[in-house]
């Protein structure tokens, strides 16, 4: 007998155990001993080490994340069918339809092995959605890399994009949105966040509970191998360090074909109501699925680990428990329904094995070679992990940074027409604002035939019900620079932007997910950023009556002492009664009016202009006005529903100037623009004040639309008229400059291919 | 127990962009003097029993119909001891 058992643990209390190598701290190890009343067996130690890792237990973030639940308003709760705590939240979108959505990170693996890291990130989030009983219907990927021209970005970006495309396309999921952002602080710590949305009927919701004594625990999907062993605790809970050994062996490898079969297999199983509970195996694999399901259900589970189908017969029980082999699910099935369950798995050639059953002992007991190797209270593994109160402290340089505002005295501003025109072209061609076709043309946006709007539109819009046209819109946004200047405001600004983007397409914002990407929680300055950001986001969700339905925290995004820009990615989902009414962003027919809704102030702190032209990050980010965002959203949604709007586009990075350029290029049409005379032209064009949108309305609707804005006390002004078609059409800013669409298109579309290679997309 | 190896390569006249990409990478890594790189596939087939003539013939047949697309690929079957 060469493996450690519970019995052996009882008899050898002083055995030295590698808890530090597995990522546990001394006090955590002692706590495990207290819980069990003895030392843990090595299998139990493996289990606790992965489940108590930062990535799985949220130990540094839990105390802050509570606010999402605590600050949820009654109005917000109305549309929530399943809240925080499950694999993904479920939102009622009307007519008996629901959607479930979530965004997650797969940052560290994507730095180590870009293709597989990104691919398995997609795989993981899709399984989370599937596990709720939904058919996955779309994906989106907010991505952040180091400087666009850095050699390592040339290694990471193409691999990540190929991996997302390779996996998502093979699953048959349209990629409808996302972002690509470049910044120095992400070099060495790229952010690869993956979002998935699925649709289901209200009565199809599935939960991850193991209930019903005697019900069978079935492991199905791919066989278990040595993938990602310790990936969770070793990779995601520690920063990269040049001295430590290569992280390569811990990365998982994905098989999208198996996952596609798994999706179809599960949906047939769900349709016949064959499962009592279901959980996908992601971080921490079998350890996670068994402990979480037992903990959430009747309380106990008995598993025979020998029954787990293995790809590698040399795996030890500890390795089997920690393995992160992809494309696996765990279901609880009533004995009477097992045959039918297995029959469906067989039809799809999916391996399925009964590995255990639900008990009422309140213990998770796992056997290997007829010996007990795990006997723990599941709640202590899955839900009662350590909770840290990490110290946090506002950084000493925060005040100085906020005081360093980008005033005209501090940073030279363009004043002449030539300078304004040059600034425009410079921003248009800067990597963050340039066209992202190089990336997005590697994704299938058509599959399933329900994509109504996809990138570069403000939000991805997919039809959920072919008969009625009911659909959803989703946008993800974050601004690391704003958040660095003021984390509380930065998180609110991310929500505001995603909320605004959803409304711009004509959808009513309903729910929120988030992926909070930060540096090391052991750094009080980072922890302060996190605490402030969560507080800001929770407060903003409260003010806008939208619930956070779930999300993800990714800590330790730093190399050595330098953390990434604090990057809380916020995803907003909205509902649209009839997708045929959606509002696209392209400038419409010639002669239609271009209006600017909202107020423009001198707000360049953290702006693209300050960054691109001056490499400056200082001052305060634009003011947050959630009341204004709410009013603006109401206007945009009503305008869409009542047929007043030909087009709408939110104003964000790059200000009104970029919004107009993007609308012009999308529609292949120009515009004659008249800037308001009570605002400095530079500010009018490039300020990033919030709560604004550019809309195009037919002349016949202009009065009705303007009245609607006035009734809500929202400023609105005509800023131009659509004029000119084709590449020789111009964006002409009266009294200042004009630039042809051809020149704008070249400036916008040449940047990424010049850096990453030609593209036919 | 016998092991049969089938090597499959694109026919010389077929464009091999993957091979070209590898060649480019070699040169960027400072490995000069490479006139060409072609990328192919290798199948390692472990058989339960010994390899008799009938099995050998069957492997050849499968190599030409499944493992290789003879419209664009050439193949070679070898027995390894």
């Amino acid at each position: 007998m060469s493996f450690d058992t519970v019995d052996n643990a009882r008899h050898t209390p002083d055995e030295d155990q590698p808890w530090a190598e597995l990522g546990l701290k001394e006090d955590e190890y002692q706590r495990i001993r207290e819980i069990l009343g003895r030392r843990p067996s090595s299998s139990e130690l493996a289990m606790y080490s992965v489940m108590w890792s930062e990535h799985c237990s949220y130990k540094s973030s839990k105390v802050h994340l509570r606010q999402f639940g605590e600050k949820q308003t009654e109005a917000a709760k109305e549309s929530l069918l399943v809240g925080i705590g499950e694999n993904a939240g479920v939102v009622d979108i009307g007519d008996g339809w629901a959607v479930t959505f979530k965004v997650e990170s797969h940052n560290h693996p994507s730095y180590v092995e870009p293709y597989q890291g990104a691919a398995t990130g997609v795989g993981g989030i899709v399984r989370d959605i599937l596990t709720m009983g939904a058919r996955p219907i779309a994906v989106m990927d907010p991505l952040r890399f180091g400087p666009a021209d850095a050699p390592d970005t040339r290694r990471v970006l193409p691999g990540v994009v190929a991996g997302i495309g390779g996996y998502g396309n093979c699953l048959g999921l349209p990629n409808i949105g996302g972002e690509v952002v470049f910044d120095e602080s992400y070099a060495g710590n790229p952010l690869v966040n993956a979002l998935c949305v699925g649709s289901l009927r209200h009565d199809e919701i599935k939960l991850a509970k193991a209930t019903g004594v005697g019900n069978l625990v079935v492991l199905f999907g791919a066989k278990t191998g040595g993938d990602g062993i310790g990936g969770v605790s070793v990779l995601a809970s520690e920063t990269f360090d040049a001295d430590k050994p290569s992280k390569r062996p811990s990365v998982q490898v994905g098989d999208p074909f198996t996952e596609k079969l798994l999706i179809e297999c599960c949906l047939e199983i769900f349709a016949e109501d064959l499962v009592v509970g279901i959980q996908d195996l992601g971080g921490a694999g079998i350890s996670c699925a068994t402990s979480e399901m037992a903990s959430a259900g009747t309380g106990g589970m008995h598993v025979v680990l020998d029954r787990v189908p293995l790809r590698d017969p040399t795996l030890s029980p500890e390795e089997i428990l920690m393995s992160e082999s992809q494309e696996r699910m765990c279901a609880v099935v009533e004995p009477a329904k097992l045959d039918r369950f297995m029959g469906i798995c067989q039809r799809w050639d999916i391996t399925a094995t009964v590995i255990g059953e639900v008990t009422d002992t309140d213990r998770l007991v796992i056997e290997w070679h007829s010996e007990t190797v795990v006997d723990v209270p599941p709640r202590t593994v899955a839900h009662e992990g350590p909770v840290y109160q990490r110290p946090y402290e506002r950084p000493a340089d925060q005040d100085a940074r906020q005081a360093d505002a980008p005033t005209a005295q501090r940073l030279v501003r363009p004043t002449t027409s030539v300078e304004l025109r040059d600034t425009l072209l410079r921003l248009v061609s800067s990597p963050n604002l340039a066209a992202k076709g190089w990336v997005t043309s590697q994704y299938d946006k058509y599959v399933q035939g329900n994509t109504v709007l996809a990138q570069p539109e403000d939000a991805g819009v997919v039809r959920v019900d072919e008969k009625t046209g009911r659909g959803v819109a989703i946008s993800t946004d974050a601004n690391g620079r704003f958040t660095k200047l003021d984390p509380y405001a930065g998180a609110q600004l991310a929500l505001a932007e995603a909320y605004r983007n959803v409304a711009a397409t004509g959808a009513k914002p309903l729910a929120v997910t988030n992926c909070l990407n930060f540096g090391s929680p052991e750094d009080p300055a980072v922890m302060w950023q996190f605490a402030e950001a969560v507080r800001g986001l929770a407060d903003a969700c409260e003010a806008l009556d939208v619930p956070v339905t779930g999300g993800n925290v990714s800590f330790y995004n730093q190399t050595g002492e330098v953390a990434i820009l604090p990057t809380p990615v916020v995803g907003v989902l909205g509902v649209i009664d009839d997708v045929a009414r959606r509002t696209p962003m392209a400038l419409g027919p010639e002669g239609e009016s271009v209006l600017l809704v909202g107020e423009t102030r001198d707000e360049l702190g953290g702006s693209e202009w300050a960054h691109v032209v001056h490499g400056h990050l200082g001052g305060l980010p634009p003011t947050v006005d959630l009341q204004r965002e709410r009013q603006l959203a109401e206007i945009l949604v009503a305008g869409s529903r009542d047929g007043m709007l030909t087009a709408a586009h939110d104003v964000s990075e790059g200000g009104v100037a970029l919004a107009l350029v993007e609308m012009a290029l999308r529609g292949g049409r120009g515009a004659r623009v008249v800037l308001p005379d009570d605002v400095d032209p530079f500010v009018a064009l490039f300020s990033e004040s919030t709560g604004r949108a550019v809309v195009v309305v037919p002349r016949s609707e202009e009065l009705r639309f303007t009245d609607m804005c006035v009734a809500r006390h929202v400023p609105v002004a005509r800023v131009g008229v659509v004029d000119g078609v084709g590449d020789q059409a111009e964006l002409a800013v009266q009294g200042q400059f004009s630039v042809s669409l051809a020149q704008l298109r070249t400036a916008s579309e040449a940047t990424l291919p010049a850096l990453f290679g030609p593209s036919v997309g | 127990m016998a092991r049969v190896v089938v090597d499959v390569m694109l026919k010389p006249e077929i464009l091999d962009p993957q091979g070209q990409a590898v060649q480019g990478a070699l040169s960027r890594l400072g490995f000069t003097g490479v006139s060409s790189v072609r990328q192919g596939k290798r199948f390692e087939i472990e058989l339960d029993g010994d390899l008799d003539d009938a099995t050998r013939a069957r492997v050849e047949e499968l190599a030409g119909t499944l493992l290789a697309n003879t419209v664009i690929e050439d193949y070679r079957v070898r027995v390894e001891d």
Binding site: F257, N450, S759 | E13, I72
Partner: protein, 224 residues
């Protein structure tokens, strides 16, 4: 109502979209499972796009041996109209119902774009509703779409009017002679790389230019 079979292999993706296109065109889509040994009396068959068997080994190489394919090959040799879209085209080449093969895009990238095409043959049952030389815009999305064949075969295809569609403006994958689709000698079997089933609804496609692939076959079957 004409009944058009749509085959689902493990990993097929655009089967439901093909079925929708058939419905929009006015036909009755009939789902066929890869393990079926009967074609359920359908009047024509569509092999849809996707990643059958994950594109493992070679695209379409494993699907081509599915039980349902035996019936389809048989039927096709007897005149049954068959349309292979994208992965379906790859399968048809692997079965040798169509000559040549599809290889990795010369850019090495998967590409999804709204592709301009020219219809170069209207004598197949899948393209008879188009005008000869008609230019259409249809989504293209693949990583292994480069059509290759030896010079003799390519000349033969041209000479016999068997090039059904050609890429215009941009050749997205390195296909020889800009070939986007071809037919067999009898004209009943057509392989096409772009996806007409994604261009049948103005709301979700770049145009409705793809619909005629599906109305053509219904027109032809109605006449029969």
């Amino acid at each position: 109502m004409a009944r058009i079979g749509v085959v689902t292999f493990p990993g097929s993706l655009d089967d439901r979209d093909a079925a929708r296109a058939i419905t929009v065109a006015g036909g009755e889509p009939v789902p066929l499972w890869h393990k079926d040994r009967s074609l359920a009396g359908v009047d024509a068959v569509v092999l849809p796009g996707g990643f059958s068997y994950g594109d493992y080994l070679r695209c379409g190489a494993i699907a081509r041996f599915a039980p349902v394919m035996e019936m389809i090959i048989d039927g096709a040799q007897g005149g049954l109209p068959v349309l292979g879209i994208c992965n379906g085209f790859q399968i048809l080449c692997e079965t040798h119902l169509l000559p040549g093969a599809l290889t990795r895009n010369d850019s090495l990238h998967f590409v999804c774009r709204d592709q301009r095409l020219r219809i170069d043959s209207t004598s197949t049952p899948w393209t008879s509703d188009y005008a000869l030389g008609q230019e259409i815009v249809v989504p293209l999305k693949n990583g292994e779409g480069g059509y290759v064949a030896d010079e003799r075969t390519l000349d033969e295809l041209e000479a016999e009017g068997r090039v059904v569609a050609r890429y215009l403006e941009v050749n997205p994958n390195g296909s020889r002679r800009d070939i986007a689709g071809i037919s067999n000698a009898a004209g009943n079997v057509v392989g096409l790389m772009p996806h007409p089933e994604h261009a049948v609804e103005p709301l979700t496609g770049p145009s409705t230019d793809g619909l005629a692939f599906f109305t053509s076959i219904l027109t032809r079957l109605a006449r029969a």
